[in-house]
């Protein structure tokens, strides 16, 4: 597997905390310094089963460290994130997809920067309803709570491409 396998839960925690702190926690977290404040992105010790209607935002990491960074959250949480990122303005469905795409883009971009190899980032894709990624396997995951709702950030790795077997020389 690629260098993505070197990423650790602490990397996901640190990068996600930076993003949430910049755009999603806001003054509400400052007014509520308790580490269990619902406005603070809080890592959970035990994984929480995802909602059936999960919103999944994913961004590909391309090049030698081939894989996917994935953010999964419930529709209401995704909507709350979009409203907060828009400065507490109403968010349409397209804004929600845009906002969660930007979140995974920032988390993915900053995780990519931790990798030893030079890789590039794809464009974020947002789907509703979940499903599994073909040929991908989970390398690392952190479950969080924000505003009392679960969300998770994962790194999926694609197996390195298998080189084609050499063709037998024709007689």
């Amino acid at each position: 597997l690629s260098a993505l396998a070197e990423l650790r839960p602490d990397d996901i925690r640190a990068v996600s905390a930076d993003v949430w702190s910049a755009y999603l926690e806001g003054h509400a977290a400052e007014d509520c310094p308790d580490p269990t404040c619902p406005e603070t992105l809080t890592p959970l010790a035990a994984p929480v089963a995802p909602s059936a209607e999960v919103v999944r935002a994913a961004v590909d990491i391309l090049g030698p460290c081939r894989g996917v960074v994935v953010l999964e959250l419930e529709p209401a949480t995704a909507h709350a994130a979009a409203v907060r990122m828009l400065g507490d303005e109403p968010a349409e469905l397209t804004d929600v997809d845009d906002a969660v795409g930007e979140l995974v883009n920032m988390v993915g971009g900053n995780l990519k920067s931790l990798l030893p190899q030079s890789c590039s980032l794809g464009l974020p894709v947002v789907v509703r309803g979940g499903g599994s990624a073909p040929e991908a396997r989970e390398l690392c995951r952190v479950d969080f709570a924000w505003q009392g709702h679960p969300l998770r950030v994962m790194v999926w790795g694609h197996p390195a491409p298998v080189p084609p077997e050499p063709k037998e020389a024709r007689p």
Binding site: G87, N105, K112
Partner: protein
């Protein structure tokens, strides 16, 4: 002064506008474009004093936009606002003529530090 903001995310353009205000640049005229191609047209149309551009965008990336501007003789000050902050990408940006790279997530302070030499 006129600032062109190029990003395919409307939400991020809004955050950039808000951060410019928080950084003390509220009085400037702001123009938006949603990809590099639109950004190229907007530079011709609006003649901005500064371009703030994302890197990864559909249609035309930020680095392609910068290279197209410089190839066309446009010397407008240009900075990236991107989640791609790795050292090799910063080097690539600077070699193409970017004045700075602001990494997402950013703060009003990081905007002030980068924009002060351009906007004063």
């Amino acid at each position: 002064m006129k600032i062109l903001i190029v990003d395919d995310s409307r939400v991020m353009r809004q955050i950039v506008v808000r951060t410019l205000r928080q950084a003390g640049y509220a009085g400037h005229d702001l123009v938006e474009a949603s990809n590099g191609r639109e950004g190229l047209e907007a530079v011709t149309t609006h003649q901005p004093n500064l371009v703030l551009s994302d890197w990864n965008m559909p249609e035309m990336t930020g680095i392609d936009l910068l290279q197209a501007l410089r190839a066309g003789g446009q010397a407008v000050p240009f900075g990236f606002v991107t989640s791609e902050g790795s050292p090799d990408m910063v080097t690539r940006a600077e070699q193409a003529g970017a004045m700075f790279v602001i990494t997402k997530p950013f703060t009003p302070e990081s905007f002030r530090d980068a924009l002060e030499p351009v906007l004063g």
